[in-house]
Amino acid sequence: MKFLGSIRLRISALFRRSELNAEMDDELASHIQLRADDLERSGLSRAEAERRAHVEFGGQERYKEEIHEASGGGNFVETFFSDVRFSLRVLKKSPGFTIVAIGTLALAIGANALVFAVLNGLILRPLDLPNEKSLYGLENRNGSGYQSYPDYEDLRDRNSSFQSLAAFGITQAGLDTGKDPAPVWVYETSGNYFDALDIPPYLGRLLHASDERGPNSAPYIVLSYGYWHNHFQDDPGVVGRTVQLNMHPYTILGVTPPEFHGTLLFFSPEIFVPIVNHQQLAGAEELSQRHRRWVFELLGHLKPGVTREQAIADLNSIASYLEKTYPQDDGDTNFTLARPGLYGNFLGRPVEAFLGGLMLLAALILLAACANLGTLFAARASDRAREISLRIALGSSRTRILRQLLTEATLIALAGGVLGLLGSIALLRRLSVWQPFPRFPIHVPVSPDVRVYVVALLLAVASGLLFGVVPVRQVLRTNANEVIKSGSVTTVGRRITVRDVLLALQIAICAVLVTSSLVAVRGLARSLRSNFGFDPQNAVLADTELSMAGYSGPAAAAMQKRMLDTLAGSPGVQSVAFADTLPLNLDARIAAVFPDKETDLRASHAAAKGYLYQVSPGYLRAAGTTLLAGRDFSWHDDESTPAVAIVNQEFARRVFGSVTDAANRYFKIQDGTRVQVVGIVENGKYLNLAEDQKAALFLPILQRPTTQTWLVVRTGSDPQQLVATIRDELHSLDAGLPLNVQPWSSELQGVLFPSRMATLSLGVLGIMGAMLSITGIFGLAAYSVSKRMRELGIRIALGAKPQEVLRAALARPFKLLLFGSMAGLILGLLATRVLAAIVYQATPRDPVVLAGVVLAMALLGLLATWIPAHRALNVDPLILLRDE
């Protein structure tokens, strides 16, 4: 009620104001009339009498203002509203200025809101789980989180720091709910997973530790809310239903809550299955194998009162126990704890670094925008000098004028802020539903929240006040008489003004942005052309997990051979082969390699670590990998013949000293097998494009069969056309085969994703920076031309040549442009060192980049000064001199 009352008071105050105005006008008019009557009586004509009466009275406006104050007017709200009204009128009168100012700020605020929202979603509140502060994930020394299942059991049972240590692995399985069987993404979770994380069921019940009774003892499925919603249409009757998972019957236990998306950011599982059933899911008996590190991450809440350091010490005492007890499998074990969600520091650090860098650039944009707006406002304030001094002469107080100017700035700031925020929300919505890789359940959970709104609006208002303050000094210095006498106070000095500094700063920032985006674009272009060690053009990949369709052991090998023979006979196919995984796939396998003489096969004695690919005969031809020496595998390299390998140059160099030495030599792998090198291939890229050269080895898949199958089909024609054919051919062998077919070049999108994202964001920021500096330079040039119109007119009248006029008008903006660009270029080159970490081959000392930046800045300058220069040249001295 109180609130409503105060509103009523305020509204009535507004009415009172207009009443007061009317009454005042009436009374003053009546005064003038009475005075005129007197004067008329003294013998003047009526008209002359009224004129005299007006003159005697003096400036009515000033007295009205005083009357307002005297009669209790001038209260804050009222003045505020009148300021707002006046500002709106003023802004409406110069739509160009208003649009440029609001647009500039909207861009800057939008960029900041966007980057902050992503930062907020990914780093400030990553998983959104209850009690996240005490939640930690285990991390190995190399930054990964992978553990073996027996190690997990030891860590779980022996530690005294965690309330409950849970584990999860990630795999894909074929789920048949009675309709179309399809591969789904699965979290294999330890029984205590949901209890350890304190996740309540949305429907039915979730898993408990008591469900686990040894390998394959728990045929239960928990559905994610998303999967339940999309595939079961929110049917609560699914609880208790039996479905087929990799051809095994599983019972649906329940559904997780909608806000739970698993414990790896970006990667939301569709279903959860007990980890003890790993064999049925992954087709391999790995539960009991201590050297197979496939469990994705261990995590849990620390007990109350246990610090991170204590917990790490506790874990490492278990690590040394494991090392001592299982020297073969657990050599060199060491743990730290990291925040779960971004896969600890493995993903977290680069993501943080990248976002931090983006935030910095976004802040630079905001700074540039503020500088820009500051220049605009300052220029405008001096254009309005006459108006302002007129108001001061008429008795307006300087505080009132400043207040009004600040109101104007704040209005623009708010409009820009709201506009920018709306834009960024629209973008964020799209980002949240965006699926960069159709193969993976990846999504970026960045819906904006209150924090984002508040930050954006605070930034807007703060920057509004920042640039609004720029003209203050100017107003305070205004000498009313001077300005009115001479038109405008032109101090055409060589003095460096705040405006100049702001503009130079802004150009420098813009040059930094342009430099970084060019560096990123160049890096991306180069990474697309670099040598992968295989040829992704004209090749199609078809991948399947045979265990999902019920094949294992010899049946799987036979199926692989049938698929190969079928595809080899298809039209358009030049060659075909298969492997367990491919270079630049996300699931890379690494093998430790030992010298032939080594007998102690602990990880610390390894001569090298190499990326391991198990390939069928013909793989090198199908993949387009060049064989430098020796031979390819043949169909005779199977389980009955001695183990052989093909290695890359880097492998040969590291293990044997040189490529020529490597042929026919032997090395050992972890399980003690002696392997003979029969071929050497070119180097390539294995994990990502920015990596240092890595060693790699290829083993015949026939010597150690797998169910994971990647078919590589090389064609002479358009690979896209072959996709459907391949799918049909394979499904004609087995309609229940879960398949994924696409050109190899599309499959590589994932690898290029980080540098693409970096390039895209930097490109956008670069364009924004460029736009800002165009408006900035344009503003200054236009301003300096209009300021010196009269001088230019006189010059032209006295016969100045066009280039002299131009030099007079635009020398200063150009000098600033030159100076700012140089500074920005140097800063930008320094900044690209940071970029090199993310963007492949981002070398700042690249002549193309240097030339590009110089050219871009010159173009920007040309573009921005074009219109003012045109104006300067077309000055008609006659009109101008008559005018003033």
Binding site: S30, H31, Y63, A70, S71
Partner: protein
Amino acid sequence: MPDQAQLLPGTLDLLILKAVSLGPLHGYGVLLRIAQISGEALMIEQGALYPALFRLVRQGLLKANWGTSENNRRAKFYELTAAGRKRLREETEGWNRLAGAIASALAAQPEEA
């Protein structure tokens, strides 16, 4: 125009109250009345009068009503309220005390000190 005395700050309100106490007046009338009763010695800037009038109305010392002037012009007439009468009395006493004190101070002769 005869020599004009400088108006001391704070005295305008007192003069207005005094002028109005002699009978209801419109703003222009207040000016004329002050000129008249001060023997043309005190001239008030025309515009400066109105803020003072509005201030006094707001303080409840004057009340205003629209009426018709002697030459048939619509005008706003001011008259004293009870509070205004009281204030005029107090201010007049205060002023007289101050004026007397200043007068006697200025009249002091060297031997009396």
